[in-house]
Structure formats: structure tokens, C-alpha cells
Symmetry: C2
Subunit: 405 residues, 2 copies
């Protein structure tokens, strides 16, 4: 008998009504002859509500107690979903992370899963039950409850599916798949039927925020097929799996736009070894996540210009830190701009097809879009442009690479 | 070092502000040199909110899933209280029922605690930590989360205190002790300094609902001293412990009034063996809890009259069932009255002092209060009277037995 793992996010189980709909979908898979394991997130705003409570108690919550508090959210939704499944006449049981054998590192609030002891899940499946597991959590070597950080429930689902050697890990969300571009911006954006892990990883970190990169990376490691689909329809979504060379004819598979970035530049730094390390180590110490980094030689000789992008909400803090470093390095000054966007194209096909970058830059240029920064990986090219030109750039590139066909 | 166990109910931890006050009290006990274990209930309305959620999912929740759902309530308050204790600069850790080693029967929703494995609690105490344990819950032999039914958190606290051989189990609530009568009714009602387990048991089941009888019975079994006190003041409350004969000079220790009862009578039943069994077995099958039962021979000869009291909310259902039985037994009819009250006096001293019942009946009678039913135990006498005379009766008996001194 084949095993299917399904994961439902917070919006999919946001209300009792929605939980009943999820129960119908889960039991349909069981009725179709599969063994079914379901991984759930906390209901809608539950996690935010719990954090609001703790903010009234303390500004610096202990990480272990934070996990103790937050892990209740998934326990509530798992119990309610199990009751809803019972109402439809199916056998089911809910399991917390520790009951499901999800073992993690001894690091509260951001533990990684180390291994899964499948005994309990397999026992319950063996009794014909649908098993509902709380996502986002596990147990450490001390017997303490841990949560596993951002993208937690997706990762829980993938790891459990991999351990069970499931045929597929279905991740249900409020969008119906991965698109060649944001369908709200590009009219003929097309749902991608199949995408490789690497492409999905680039897209996931680029603003097409449907799947956390961590879960994709984990699926890649195990060669597990993810089926990302809508919890509100029965249509097939997007399969994320290893691409086979023969199928890969598309050079570019998608365009992504990220409006949530800001650019910071530090100008005319007297060039000497270690200046980049000095800047980015200081930013790291201040817990500022830096995305793109560009360093160029200044036209006037022994100076360097350096620029980087950060999350828009961190711009102010980043500028403060950079100003301090600029003084220490005797740089000329610091500039920043919150009015920028990052437009990217992603595709495994780029690796073997030179000239894609040139095509991209040309398409943008001849449409009057100025490129402020460029960063590339093997399967992705990103450009920082003016925010107001972001949507136009997406349409241009979608057309340029013929993605709407 | 002495061990103190403190239990805080739902109203005591109802808001973040109140939780901070509880933290202040807990840390004061630690600062005074005690090892401190705290048992908490769920915050205020949390349990009701969770039940409202599940009612939107199903009318007949599975008991195991019900426990999975409800046990999150105490986990939230335990984590928040622990954070509040940290804010005051003390070391503390929260433990769920299963982490604290609270083992129960394999009976969801109304499991009894079978034993406590103290390893984890003692390890944490040994590291100088205040230990905050979730009340109302444990773990069964399958590794499933169980809740332990009504009066759960009080019972958790008492059992943990007994296992730890604590000096005292302090139960904090919204009243400041046990009174000789309801102080809202009887002006000179007096807080009782010390009361025996048996007296407290009678009072607890008689409407002075400050402590669940189950926790008192459990404390009695272990000879554990309970200190029932207010979470809003520093005054001593009432100690519940084994009375020593020498101290016991009071015949009557308290008066209790229960306005939440109803009387049902079944008239002129042809008397033959088994009629009482027939009636009360049928009521039991209908899940109706019967309190007082009186059977008397009817003046006209071979007939019996029978009367009983039930919770007022169950009167209608009880009358329906009784009507059915009345027809089967060829009785003359069924009468009921929801407008009654039960007034009781309680005192260990009664055992050795005859005539107390007579004093009680006389005091009521000469004040124009008619007694409709009487029931007695070794340390308690209860009378059913008209509801409107309940408060007056309480004042009369409080005075008659000189309780205001």
C-alpha cells in the first residue's frame, strides 16, 4: 500500500469550517487506498496570538519556554482535525512531535530534525488509522519540546515523508502551484507543471514564497517528490522533483520579483585587504541578513565601492552599522535606497546556454529599465532596478523568454 | 531544604498581569529558602474557548483527542508563568504532565493518577530551579496525553506534593479560606483556621466549592497538609489536616447552603422488593446524579413514598425518567419542586455528641422553617427546605451553633 504525506498550512486549517474541508480531502486519499499521514500547522493567527501573550510577560523569552508555548498551536489544530476526520467515519489519531518520534538537536527554537523514530506512526498506520502529526516541532535529547524554526511544518512533512519512503509529499497551501511569474502582474503567467529542486530553491528564496527553501533542500537530499497544490481545489499543482535532462528544453523557467529589498552602498573605501570582511562581519554580528553583495574598483584608482541589499525592514539598522564601519575605514560616505526591486530569472537550462544574461539585460535596457546591481548563480540571474519598474520588468522578461506559451 | 508545592487556579493566572503577580509570590517562597514546585491550571477562559472550537467540529469528540486539545491550556500558562519567573531573575523550567512523570490510567478524560516518577522534577529542583508543572494532565501507558477530569489541577498538586513529601500543598484560589458559613449571607461568618479532611470533604460536596473533594480525599490518604488561601492577599487561609482529638471541642464547624438542587417525589408506589433499585438504576442509566434519597412507608399501608434530590439543571430529565418508572410500578404520581435548598451543618464533633440533629431541627422549626427532607451522615446533617428560606436558615444555624465567636 502506498503512503501519502499531506501537509496543511495555517490558512488551510484557519477555521473549524476549513478544518472540516481538510478532513474531507484527507479521508478521500484514505478512501482511495492510501496510507495517509497528515502534518498540520497551527490555525491561522494562533502563533501570533501566543506571541502577543508572551510579549505582555517578557521582552526576552527563554527559548525553551518559547517552544513550550508555541508548540501548543499545532497540538490544537491536530486534535481538531482528527476529530473532524472521526466525524466522517474514519479512524484517526493525532500525534505530537514527540509522540511521532521527531527527534531534534538540543537547540530550542531553531533545532534541526536529526532523525525520526517511526514506530508509533507505523503502529497507528498498521491499525488502519489516518495519522495527524503536529508540524514545526520535535523533542530533544533531554525530553524537552523543541520547535524547528522558519519553514518548520513544511520541513516536518518532508522529513516524515522521506523517513516513511512516501510516494509523494503533498503540500497544500493557498496558491495552486508555482507560476512562471506572479499571475497578479503578468496576465499570461503559466502554472509550472514540473520544476527541479534547484530552480525551486532559487524561486523560493526570491519572493515566490510558497515553499520554504529548507524543505526543498531536504526533499532534494532524499529525492522526495513534492506536490505543491491548493487546499481549495482539486486541480494538480506543481511537482518539485529532479529534472531529467531529456525533458529540460526550457532555458528559463520563471521570473520572480522581490519588492521587499533595499540597497545600501558604501563609497570610495581606501582599498586594502579585509575591508569586505570588516563590513560584512559587523553586519552579521548585528544580525542583519545580507542578500546580494557587489564590490567594484572605483574609477579613481585605489578605492573600492561596495553595495549590498537587505530586507527593507532592516535598511535603517543596516545604514547605522554601515556608517560606523565607513568611518572606521575612512570611506567617503554611505548611500541607501529603499525604493528598489529585485527581478530574477531562474532556469536550469541556463547552465548550458550562454548568452541568457545578455538577453535579459538587453530586454530590460531597450525598454528603458536601468540596472543598478547584478548578481548571478548557475541557474539564476538577478538585477536590482527601480521599484516602480518592477512589474513592467516582470512582464518584459516573461515575454522575452517566451514563458506564457 | 523544605519543599513547598503551590497550585494556582484559572482565575489566578487569568491574564498576563495576574501571571506576573503569581511569579512574585512563587519567587518569594523560593527566596525564603524553599524548593518550590508550582502546579498551574489553564488561563481563565482558555478551556471554554477550546471547547467552543471543538463544538464547531463535532458533537461527540473522541476522548483521547479531547485530552490532546485541552491539555494545551495548561501548557500555555505554565510556559508564560515560567517566563515571568525568569524576568524576576530566578531559574525556572516548565514541565508538561508527561515531562513531570505524572502517570495515569489508560482512561482518556477521566484518568486517575497512578504514580509519579520524580526523576525530572528532582533533577530540576537539584539545579536550583523553580519547577512549573501543568496541572490536570498526565501520560498513560501508551504514551498518550490524558486529562484527569474534574478537580484535576487540585488533585495534580496534591499528588505531586505527596510524592515529594512536601511540607505543605498551598492551593491558591479567589477566596481566602473556608468559612463557617457563606460570608455574603452570614455577617459574622468566621474563617476557619483548621478543618479536618472529613469535614472539608462534606463541605466540599455541599456547595462550599473551593476545593474539589477528590483532592481532599487524596490529601487525606497521604496525610498531606493543604493550605487553602487567596492568591490576592498574604493572609493565612485555612489549613486542612487531620484533627487531633484534644483540639476538637467544636461540635459544628460550618454551615453550608446549596441552592442548586431540586426535589423529585414519586407517590404511593405499591410496596414490593426492588422498587428503589428499579428507580435509581433507571436514573443512573440516564446519567442523572442523585444526591439525597428518602424512602418512607405511606400512612395508608402497603405503599411507599420515595423522594430524591438532583442538580437543578437535571430536574426536567429526572422527572421524565421518573414518570416512566412510576407508570411501570403503578405508582400514583410524580411531584417535583425546583424551588428548594439544602442547608447542612458539618462537624466531626457531632459523632460524640448526640442531640445535635434535634438542636438543628428545633432551631429551624421555631423560626418557621419547614423541613421537607432530612439526610444524615456521621459528621453532617442536611435538610431540604424552601429556597426562599435558605439564607435565613443559614443565619439561624450559624447563631445556634455559636460559629461566629
Amino acid at each position: 500500500m502506498s503512503i501519502v504525506v499531506q501537509k496543511y498550512g495555517g490558512t488551510s486549517v484557519g477555521t473549524p469550517e476549513k478544518i472540516k474541508k481538510v478532513a474531507a480531502r484527507v479521508t478521500a486519499a484514505k478512501a482511495a487506498g492510501h496510507d495517509v499521514v497528515v502534518v498540520v500547522s497551527a490555525m491561522g493567527d494562533t502563533t501570533d496570538d501566543l506571541i502577543a501573550l508572551l510579549n505582555q510577560i517578557t521582552e526576552s523569552p527563554d527559548a525553551r519556554e518559547y517552544d513550550m508555548l508555541l508548540s501548543t498551536g499545532e497540538q490544537v489544530s491536530a486534535a481538531l482535525l482528527t476529530m473532524a476526520i472521526h466525524s466522517l467515519g474514519f479512524k484517526a489519531t493525532s500525534l505530537t512531535g514527540w509522540q511521532a518520534g521527531v527527534h531534534t538537536e538540543d537547540i530550542p527554537s531553531k533545532a534541526r530534525i536529526t532523525h525520526i523514530k517511526l514506530d508509533r506512526i507505523q503502529k497507528e498506520l498498521g491499525e488502519g488509522k489516518i495519522v495527524v502529526v503536529t508540524g514545526f516541532q520535535g523533542i530533544d535529547s533531554h525530553g524537552d519540546i523543541t520547535t524547528i524554526g522558519r519553514g518548520g511544518s513544511d520541513t516536518s512533512a518532508v522529513v516524515i515523508a522521506a523517513a516513511l519512503k512516501a510516494d509523494v509529499c503533498e503540500i497544500y497551501t493557498d496558491v495552486d502551484g508555482v507560476y512562471t511569474a506572479d499571475p497578479r502582474i503578468v496576465k499570461d503567467a503559466r502554472k509550472i507543471k514540473t520544476i527541479s529542486y534547484d530552480e525551486m530553491l532559487e524561486l523560493a528564496s526570491l519572493g515566490a514564497q510558497v515553499l520554504h527553501p529548507r524543505s526543498v533542500e531536504c526533499a532534494k537530499n532524499y529525492g522526495l517528490v513534492i506536490h505543491l497544490r491548493s487546499s481549495f481545489s482539486n486541480e494538480e499543482g506543481t511537482y518539485i522533483k529532479e529534472g531529467t535532462g531529456m525533458e529540460k528544453t526550457d532555458v528559463v523557467n520563471g521570473v520572480a520579483l522581490d519588492l521587499n529589498i533595499a540597497k545600501v552602498g558604501i563609497l570610495k573605501i581606501p582599498d586594502k585587504p579585509g575591508i569586505a570582511a570588516k563590513l560584512f562581519k559587523t553586519l552579521g554580528d548585528a544580525k542583519i541578513n545580507v542578500d546580494m553583495i557587489i564590490q567594484s574598483i572605483h574609477s579613481s584608482g585605489n578605492f573600492a565601492d561596495m553595495a549590498f541589499t537587505v530586507n527593507k525592514t532592516e535598511m535603517k539598522k543596516a545604514v547605522e552599522v554601515t556608517n560606523k564601519v565607513a568611518r572606521e575605514l575612512s570611506a567617503e560616505g554611505v548611500v541607501s535606497d529603499g525604493d528598489v526591486a529585485k527581478i530574477s530569472i531562474v532556469g536550469v537550462g541556463m547552465i548550458s546556454k550562454p548568452g541568457v544574461a545578455g538577453d535579459m539585460f538587453e530586454a530590460l535596457g531597450k525598454n528603458g529599465i536601468n540596472i543598478e546591481m547584478i548578481s548571478t548563480s548557475e541557474i539564476k540571474i538577478s538585477c536590482v532596478i527601480k521599484a516602480e519598474q518592477g512589474k513592467k520588468a516582470m512582464e518584459i522578461l516573461h515575454k522575452e523568454f517566451n514563458l506564457g506559451k
